[in-house]
Amino acid sequence: MVIDCEHVWREVSNYLDGEVAPELRTAIEDHVRGCKHCTAVLDGMRNVVELYGDERMMEVPVGFSRRLHQRLEADMSPSRRTFLGWAVAATASLLVAGAIELARSSVFRSPDLRSEHSRTSNHVPPDMMVIVAQEGKTFHVAGCPFIHDKAQLRTISAHQAEQEGYAPCVRCMKKYLDATASAAPNRSKEAFGG
């Protein structure tokens, strides 16, 4: 089978995608070997596919993820606090917890607790594997977008995390935090064997 340049141009894209029959494939390769123009077309097209297919071509504007999460948070359940609200509330409670901790440190020594929240978090299943950051105060479900200091992460059980003084993330562990207000006390007892 002998084909001309026009035939090659029509099929070169399918050829790159492996969408041509073996006979045509051989014919294209035979033609390209002896045709400078078609070699340049094939190489150029291959280059285009490789360049545009590169991850680096997919950039998002600075702050894209943050704005996306704010929008989702606001629209998922309008009655709930916004992301900013949560951030402010979490920061405020951490500050308060820190202040209390400082004030009481001479009387009630509890150096192992990284956050005041740790004390009320024992309704998270103790054997659940969670992620903690070395310098962080909270523990997370794997993949939680609120994990900070991603360079130094450890995967440990929720029980160990609590023992080390980490508190559950108010975002990814919310399910267990919400449980506190309702039927959680009973369930937490079961979870910890009473």
Partner: protein, 218 residues
């Protein structure tokens, strides 16, 4: 071996996503952030390629993610979440284009002659653009500029197939066209982009973009 490893990874990924989707359906909304995180860039890239405007693309991407969340109950578990999500983004972007009447503004002549033969330009000084060049912002911008200069029908096929890495069948389904049309348009898109970029780095392409002045090189 490589193929079977890939299939295994793919199956594991799909299982993981199914688990997350079930958690979202059960009311654990936070799991949605985990689910969409790997695809944020892809959704934005699809929206940008179709709308060609940063602000519109971001708004469209947000809206698409929100629609995905609201319609998560309708997602069929045998489907691929990424393809479903990209399709929502494409639909959203197309709807916006219709509202903006962008299709009317786009030069019509670019979309004509889809079935005709396209003759690629001949370049004596052909030089390959190495992928390392993508580290340079101006190179990425030139590529984006070249992409935005080709006709809409070619751009959307190219973006879904070559950037989003959808299969020909998935691309056809997402755009509501035949696989034959996908192949034809993809061929044209790749050839046009090759012609726009082929002179290579350091060549006339990087110094003086002819299409930037409104002159079509083809």
């Amino acid at each position: 071996m490589a193929a079977s490893t890939g299939t295994l990874e793919h199956a594991a990924q799909q299982d993981y996503e199914r688990g997350l989707i079930q958690r979202i359906r059960d009311g654990e909304h936070e799991a949605f952030y985990v689910l969409i995180r790997p695809y944020e860039k892809r959704v934005y890239a699809a929206a940008l390629a179709l709308l060609r405007n940063d602000a519109d693309a971001e708004d469209c991407a947000q809206e698409a993610m929100l629609k995905a969340f609201k319609n998560i109950q309708q997602f069929r578990s045998e489907a691929k979440f990424s393809t479903w999500l990209i399709q929502i983004a494409v639909n959203e972007a197309r709807m916006r284009r219709r509202k903006q009447r962008a299709d009317l503004i786009e030069p019509i002549e670019k979309d004509q002659g889809e079935e005709g033969t396209y003759s690629p330009r001949e370049f004596a000084d052909w030089r390959e653009i190495p992928s390392e060049a993508l580290e340079r912002k101006e190179v990425r911008e030139k590529l984006a500029e070249a992409l935005s200069s080709i006709g809409q029908i070619y751009r959307e096929v190219f973006v879904l197939r070559d950037m989003e890495q959808l299969s020909i069948e998935e691309t056809a389904k997402a755009l509501g066209i035949s696989t034959a049309s996908v192949k034809t348009r993809l061929m044209r898109a790749r050839l046009m982009l090759r012609d726009l970029l082929a002179p290579g780095l350091g060549g006339p392409w990087s110094r003086d973009l002819s299409f930037a002045k409104g002159v079509k090189p083809w």
